[in-house]
Symmetry: C2
Subunit: 162 residues, 2 copies
DNA sequence: CGGCATCCTCAAAGATACTG
DNA sequence: CAGTATCTTTGAGGATGCCG
């Protein structure tokens, strides 16, 4: 069974060469009732996907590198707000998962390019589906939130009549 | 513009009625180059989706509640490993976003049921797409990781000849 | 230019205990 | 049964500095 729970350092801990580059744990487990079954197995798969594309900067990187090869600095500037560390981390993770290809040109100064692999490009398509969903329901969710917050606030302010 | 960066507490901070029930910040921003544009805008949408379905337990809840109405305790047992607190938090967030409907039956003992809304069920379909991707590339990613880790380890062990 | 290494912060997740 | 309130842990993420 896909018990991801105790797998915090996952894979076995081989990956600690580059120093402390801490590969995120993120969504680590779900392990929903193996008795009820059915779509639960799917959850694991979904989680694995999320583990990959989650982490704040991954999607930005994937989106950009899917369009064209990108240099480190270019990514750093495009993805406003990302730190060198986090960009590197994200890049390494994606590369490790085979979603990115890193090409180093041994020139001076050095030049490194990142490009999404076909596999990642497939994910891109999938992301568009998600995007569609988000766009369609953006307002619905937004109003749902407002309603919920409204009720919560009023309930906290006046629980009846003062 | 969708500048989510400084929006840590988002929404304005209205939602702090139930005590400290801290609505997660999660993936907070991406704000990729507004100059380059094109698919970058999409990134925001995708992020919003991720913000919703991320958080370890959300997907499990969605998957289960999409299949049938579920009681709190049932969810708690099905989603092994989740704490009461986290389950409540997840439930509240999903409810707030209009992805879940909470129905309380004023019986003794109390009975509460959660069920996915149509909107959430659409997301379920999308999740299946993601699942498909994950399943198709599971092995590919796995071997990619092994290769990467292998290279890293050997590079760390013997960088040439001692 | 393209990164590691280090230190630090703060929010998300966990454990535990109490209540309507 | 179905939560809420607190305290603590942990680890993702940020800032900075150095180096090939």
């Amino acid at each position: 069974m896909h018990d991801l729970s105790p797998a915090r350092s996952a894979e076995g801990g081989t990956f600690m060469s580059q120093g402390h580059i801490d590969v995120p744990a993120q969504v680590e487990a779900i392990r929903v009732g193996e008795a009820e079954g059915s779509s639960i197995d799917k959850a694991c798969s979904v989680l694995e996907v999320l583990n990959r594309i989650s982490g704040k900067w991954a999607i930005g990187v994937l989106l950009l590198t899917t369009q064209r090869p990108m240099r480190f600095t270019h990514l750093e500037r495009e993805i406003k707000g990302v730190s060198r560390r986090m960009l590197t981390l994200t890049l390494r993770n994606l590369e490790r998962d085979g979603l990115l290809v890193r090409t180093v040109y041994p020139t001076v100064p050095p030049r490194t390019e990142y490009e999404a692999t076909p596999m990642a490009r497939e994910l891109y398509e999938t992301l568009l589906v998600l995007t569609g969903w988000a766009d369609r329901h953006r307002h619905e969710i937004d109003s749902a939130r407002r309603v919920y917050d409204e009720q919560s606030t009023s309930r906290a302010t006046s629980t009846g009549s003062p």
